[in-house]
């Protein structure tokens, strides 16, 4: 369990960094307001400035409300969270898998995996869902709407 105070601090730092980066990047473009209007760097610079300012305000707010902010917890480390991280990893793997074995096949692999992680142990249900959904996508998106979902790199 992480306290919101710590998280706010992280956000503050990131805000300053990102705001600063935006300002530096925009400074590379012309910024003066001429007869042709402001240069392309003007607006992003303004945004970067406001972001940095907002980050500072956040820091001040956090310090002022130190008590309640420390009590507020951000749930990041429980068992439930870990399951989410596993699912995230599965999804990222899925992206890679799409390239390897094609979308439809990868989909039929992904669905049972996620269902398993959600405590489903009914094999028939997993098979049925996987095949059913993939078939539905194939019929509606593949055939009807002609969306050609990626196929395996090996088949190209």
């Amino acid at each position: 369990m992480v306290s919101m105070k710590f998280c706010n601090f992280v956000v503050f730092v990131m805000g300053m960094v990102i705001g600063g980066a935006i300002m530096v990047a925009s400074a590379g473009f012309p910024m003066e307001i001429t007869e042709q209007g402001p240069g392309p760097g003007f607006w992003p610079f303004l945004l970067g400035l406001t972001l940095t300012f907002a980050a500072l305000v956040l820091a001040v707010y956090t310090l002022c409300h130190r008590q309640e902010v420390t009590e507020e917890k951000v749930i990041l480390g429980t068992a439930a969270n870990r399951q989410v991280y596993v699912v995230m990893a599965l999804i990222v793997l899925f992206c890679g898998l799409i390239h390897l074995i094609g979308f439809y096949v990868a989909a039929m692999v992904l669905i049972p995996c996620i269902m398993y992680r959600l405590e489903c142990r009914d094999k028939k249900l997993m098979l049925f869902t996987a095949v059913g959904v993939t078939l539905f996508i194939y019929l509606v998106f593949g055939q009807l709407l002609h969306t050609s979902l990626p196929s395996s790199v090996f088949l190209e």
Binding site: Q36, I101, G102, M126, L127, S151
Partner: protein, 320 residues
């Protein structure tokens, strides 16, 4: 659990292979021997997209048994789609639309593909830049407009669809040709916004594709003074071309159906012959005319030449 997963994967792979093998059964002649993907590097519903889909449906009717599948790829301002097309297998089953931006982007540092990466089938639309002004404007023809612009250097507001985009380039060309200076006001969301701005009298003129302004011009709220084309527009037969008035400028926003370079000549010939028939047919012309667009029938080599000419023109103009 492991056994079931393995079983699933094997079944899936089998299905995949069978599916692929199955489609190779049809051994008909090109183009009926498989789907032809047409990459449209714009979002669905826009001008290029509807014209492309129209052209494809006519071609499909003409080439019996063929199936054209339009695929929208609006990413990267359309450049991603054009690049992908240039890298596609040149077997006649991947075609795509390219627009006049292809001739401009390489010289603006925005893209690396040029017209040399493609062979063209046809260009169904090539909208010329037209000088359109408000009804109350004190000028009624090109010369009066130029004189007014010279008297009010830097004050006449000229709307365009974005700095660096085609209509802005057209306006810059105009400035160079006639020795005038405008105030360029970009309307990035497109010509419809320019039409609204003209109707509301927030700008004074624009050089753009006249089809968007047709209803206003017909109703009399806007005036069209001249057209940058080789021949007069069928919709506005009383409007002179820049060429007639002594200034041979031709800036067109074209969209062309092309194939990647290296596509075999026989297949290109099949497509070009069909395109020739389609573009000269009455139904095709009616389809576009009813939308206020002047259709063109620039086929094959003539289309290649147009793309090359425009590329050379923009190279000269943009590499200042």
């Amino acid at each position: 659990m492991k056994k079931l997963l393995t079983l699933l994967m094997l079944t899936a792979m089998l299905l995949g292979v069978v599916g692929c093998g199955g489609s190779a059964e049809k051994k008909a002649a090109y183009p009926a021997d498989g789907d032809i993907t047409v990459i449209i590097p714009k979002a669905p519903g826009g001008g290029t997209d509807t014209s492309a889909r129209g052209l494809i449906s006519f071609l499909q009717k003409e080439l019996q048994g063929s199936k054209f599948v339009p695929v929208n790829k609006p990413d990267g301002g359309g450049i991603t789609g054009m690049v992908e097309l240039s890298k596609a297998k040149p077997d006649g089953h991947t075609l795509g639309m390219v627009t006049v931006e292809l001739a401009m982007f390489p010289h603006q540092g925005k893209a690396t593909v040029t017209n040399k990466d493609y062979v063209s089938v046809c260009a169904p639309i090539a909208a010329p830049a037209a000088l359109i002004v408000t009804k109350e404007a004190p000028y009624n023809n090109l010369d009066e407009f130029v004189k007014y612009a010279k008297d009010n250097a830097g004050k006449v507001s000229m709307g365009n669809s974005g700095t660096g985009a085609i209509w802005h380039i057209a306006a810059l060309n105009f400035e160079k040709e006639f020795g005038v200076k405008f105030k360029h006001v970009p309307y990035p969301k497109g010509s419809a916004d320019i039409a609204a701005a003209l109707a509301g009298k927030h700008i004074e003129a624009t050089l753009a594709d006249p089809s968007v302004f047709k209803s206003q011009i017909d109703a009399g709220t806007l005036k069209i003074l001249a057209v940058m084309a080789d021949t007069r527009s069928e919709f506005y037969p009383n409007v002179p071309t820049f060429k007639e008035l002594g200034h041979p400028m031709a800036i067109r926003a074209w969209a062309a159906l092309v194939a990647p370079k290296g596509t075999p000549k026989e297949k290109m010939d099949v497509l070009r012959k069909a395109a020739e028939k389609v573009c000269n047919s009455k139904d095709f012309k009616d389809y576009f005319k009813k939308q206020g667009i002047d259709p063109t029938a620039i086929i094959g080599d003539a289309c290649d030449k147009m793309m090359a000419d425009d590329d050379a023109m923009y190279a000269k103009f943009l590499k200042k």
